[in-house]
Assembly symmetry: D2
Homo-oligomer: 367 residues x 4
């Protein structure tokens, strides 16, 4: 089934395998007239680069995007924007071993069950490199949203047992710490924790939070196209995410109604809320306050420790995964979460344009 | 925007307001040849009836479904199944007050912001009664799935601070306790807790869990149509849900990879997993083990305690919501969660039928 | 497959069989704030009534629509509009004969091949009565379009060998002649022709033309969502239509470019075209001139003359179809064509609202 | 709006402008396990090459396809197949003139009206080069269909006043004549006619016919997803097509029912039809006989003769289009029609797989 497209008006279609010739995305339905150049995209892609050196100068060989269509004289034309990243640095490698067994926590077994075979090189389509397309599309969406005063900020909230402290919150640290934490102290502790984790040949999970400010009220549609429903799908579609929370999320289930309800009040002639347990969404529609979402990310499934598994012949075997793997997925996934939020919110903003006669008369009749 | 449809092949479109003439659903894409009659649907609808008496004989005035199309001589025809429930017992009531202000925790404000006005009677389209259509569709999906040996079971896992104990698990209790808990002891405690809650003019949230057994491996599609992504959307689209977990969910973020990875092994010549932290889904595709999902439900927003809010004139006011309201949404939402799981899994089973040439040759060439 | 829905933002889902309990449609995505009541719908439905007496007072037992949701205090709310017509006048009849064989020109055989069985009563889902839902939706779309100055007019252009003359064109005749011809002379000739046709136990086809005035330029989207592509689909989806032409249509294939190209010129400071061979659409996008479409309709397949066919046992038999059948489909299909044009054009108008940043800034930033 | 995608399960998304860096297509939902290599695609692309020399050895600089993803070890993997053609031979040219006015018969004016500006180089997105993506996708679909014994054949039926004779029908001539006519005599006459046409600085239209043999009965879905409706959309979405006919098409409107109905009979224990006025589709579903479709194509809008038009300043001007233009679109569009037929029929074959319980039990229960 065609599962690589998302969105109703702002629609992205990603393609490509970890070790194929290239990876990319086609973004269709982007409104015409948005200023856009390659650097807007590259800045986002650079945030998903590997490792300890995200704050250092980007390595030359890093994923470099090409814009192949849909932008003319510096502006989007309204037609599909095709973007591509060559898989230059992928090692051809020897995959004869990995091709024959199923790595625990990976999609090897399920792809084989579904399709009868799989591109086993580096995880093929289920590789984290698939998110290159998402991030390239997210960069466009985020730029479009910023023109309406809507700003997204995703960051690492916790890794393993270590959480950021809101008192130490420093937005500039997100892009500067290797953990993507907005708390430099917590980040230092986390680096140590991760070093230990690697020594133990193990990996760990964590939590990514994304907040969105400047939201107009009214985005999202009742019933199945609720904004929170679409955000949940978009975020849960990221490979390693196992839970999604909106606002107070799991805590809301423990609350009393008298606590959980956010009172409305008037501020500067506008309706605002005194609290935001709801995370900016009521009845699936944005209420004008900050959107708050948390994604819970499982540990990197590739670990050096020996693991029990089976091979395609149906034999039980013990394996030990080689290669270089991050001990945690979270820091590199922060920009992926932000991107998926951006594409989802932009799509809801676009479809909302035609939800009432009043809007349409303003556009078509200047009334 | 058309937000009331869900699904690619098995597609439901719900319609209706709390106090309109009727509510219903059109189910399109149901495979032809499924035995179906009204009682299959009614059994599911009866599970979402209000209150303490779910196990008693259904009241005559209860929501009674009519099947208007798509079933002929006891079998589905492959064409749209239209189902309808008359809104006979809705009191016309005096809504002049409620029409003028915004109830905290409800969608009153956001509907007004989106559409310019709203059907304020009983919550209109954002009423819990909208789920009638979901449950009617879910009944069909669950019946179809059962023909493939796929069985769903949703139940209340916790309400406020009281959780079920897996040691006391008794599936028969789900339909017999007023809490929909599969633990009779916990249910009795919960009833007391809810009685206190009502005395305090308050409400509370809780957690619904749904497990699915008999899943074939291979359902769900890579990237955006992942099974977990679609389940997250389907469940988050239920009005009061604020978080969705798959498998270990939020706990996965705290785990080490060595713990979180589920080893594969061989049992009776089949590939199985030694554990199921993943909740039955790897890389967005079912792995053949049990699907596990939890939905975190906020407290009923309608409470008797006085609350601060604003009216349409922009004045801050204090309100006190009248009428009869459940102190907790969870027990009645259990069947809604089960229904949304069923429609999503059936849709994934249907689209999976054409994912490989081998399947198609079996069907078209008897090969 | 779910084939009973159409449209991206303005989305209709029809349901119902000829001899089931009822037929209907759910219209989702209609913009909020459109004045609407039952009479708007009924006026359209009355135009698809049978026979020679379309201009007489409607019979009381005729298809009467109920609006079950989506309209509040006389205006659309933006949520699904569910409409239903009871199948009161359908005779239960004896279908044991028709159930066993395949009527030539009907969908009996293909439904059986597809689904394994069929609701054979009166054609079931493939009956012309399915168009009730289309027309109810079309009435809403046409009303919405009229608020933007867009007006549709469909009429019979020819029946068998008799065509209207443009010199005799009289729009008022469309609703007053039994043929739906805008030419009273041609209509009288046609009535005689049809009487002869019936005497010969035969039926005949014809051509429906629809023109749309007041179109803004810019509706329709490049590549696959071209306005003409979507119109072609919408019109070809009407049971008996076998060809669709836009503008000069089949004649365009015979033209020289120097004739077929429509020169642009300036009139009252606006860009207009000196001719309209293109039928109002260039590159799939409306050019602001009149939309012209023709649908070619096959003869009624139910005829009294004996016909060769086969039965479900695989025996060759001769049949003679009983009952009362119109000798021509065209006059009753005129409003169906108009309806399908209306829903398609409204959908293109809605999705066009968000095609450029300029529009979005006007709506969201009042810029 | 995202208008560059088509299909429900077999889904193509084309992208690219005439003079951009490249053009391409992403094909998602292709079943896994189809043998495929570059030459399958290239053979189709070569058929849309320009001019008089289609039968000669392909020029080296011709559109050469790259497959970037979705094929592994010679077979499709079930994940997106991304294909790309570099725009190597596009001259940068001086478009300052063409950018300022609206060519009659082209989409210049409508793109400007829709988006506010346009990529004017060589027609941008509305260029015939956009069909590269369609043809690349069509090659895959046609190959998949051939594995089920379904074979498509499109050819030129007429150009201007010259039609092929069915008595001279020679399928091998389609790929060998410069006109793509299956009648070598008619082709020679046509070549002369076209030479005259060019001398007169003019262009001409024509008709493309496509027949499909080996169709199973049962493809296509009732109501809006009828096979003929989807074919009509697919074909009308090709830039220059102004009319689409199925079976007898416009002639059906002139027929009597006694002539137009195709009698069923038994042949070799199978149900067949004695005639095929319907063109292989009844009630929107394939009936197992040959599919017949005709597309009416307008003359090339770019002609050397002087034409009246207006520029962006609103001045009436006379223009004379330079450059090298084919006097007729038809021969190069033949493979585009065949491709659009292929993708539409494959999609209907795929979605049909899950239309009845019987099929699903065969797949999931081996029953």
């Amino acid at each position: 089934m065609a599962g690589s497209s998302l969105g109703i008006v702002f629609q992205l279609t990603t393609w490509g395998e970890s070790h194929g010739a290239a990876l990319g995305v086609v973004v269709d339905g982007c409104p015409a007239g948005l200023s856009l150049d390659k650097s807007d995209i590259q800045a986002y892609l650079d945030r998903r680069k590997p490792g300890q050196t995200r704050i250092a100068t980007p390595r030359k060989e890093a994923d470099e995007v090409q814009i192949l269509s849909g932008v003319f004289e510096g502006r989007t034309t309204g037609t599909p924007i095709s973007m591509l990243v060559q898989n230059t640095s992928q090692r051809s490698g020897d995959y004869s071993e990995i091709s024959s067994y199923y790595r625990p926590g990976h999609a090897d077994y399920t792809f084989d069950q579904k399709y009868g075979f799989r591109d086993y090189r580096g995880g093929g389509r289920s590789s984290g490199r698939e998110t290159i397309g998402r991030v390239a599309a997210g960069a466009i969406a985020a730029k479009a949203l910023s023109e309406f005063g809507i700003h997204l900020r995703a960051y690492t909230r916790s890794i393993g047992p270590i959480s950021i402290s809101m008192e130490n919150f420093d937005a500039s640290a997100i892009l500067e710490t290797p953990t993507a934490m907005p708390d430099r102290e917590a980040s230092v502790l986390t680096e140590k924790y991760l070093a230990d984790c690697m020594k133990e040949y193990d990996s760990v999970g964590g939590v990514i939070e994304c907040v969105v400010d400047g939201m107009p009220a009214g985005l999202g549609d009742p019933v199945f196209e609720k904004l929170d429903a679409n955000l949940a799908k978009a975020i849960m579609s990221i490979g390693a995410v196992k839970a999604v929370e909106i606002g107070d999320g799991v805590d809301a289930a423990l609350h009393r109604g008298s606590v959980n309800n956010d009172p409305f009040r008037i501020q500067d002639d506008h309706v605002v809320k005194s609290s935001n347990h709801a995370g900016g969404i009521l009845g699936g529609i944005s209420d004008g306050s900050r959107i708050i979402l948390r994604a819970h990310v499982k540990p990197t499934p590739s670990i050096f420790s020996p693991q029990q598994t089976v091979n395609q012949k149906g034999e039980e075997i013990e394996i030990s995964i080689k290669g270089r793997h991050d001990p945690v997925i979270v820091p590199r996934a922060v920009v992926v979460v932000e991107s998926m939020m951006a594409v989802t919110i932009l799509d809801s903003l676009l479809v909302n344009a035609c939800c009432k006669m009043e809007n349409l008369k303003k556009l078509y009749l200047n009334a």
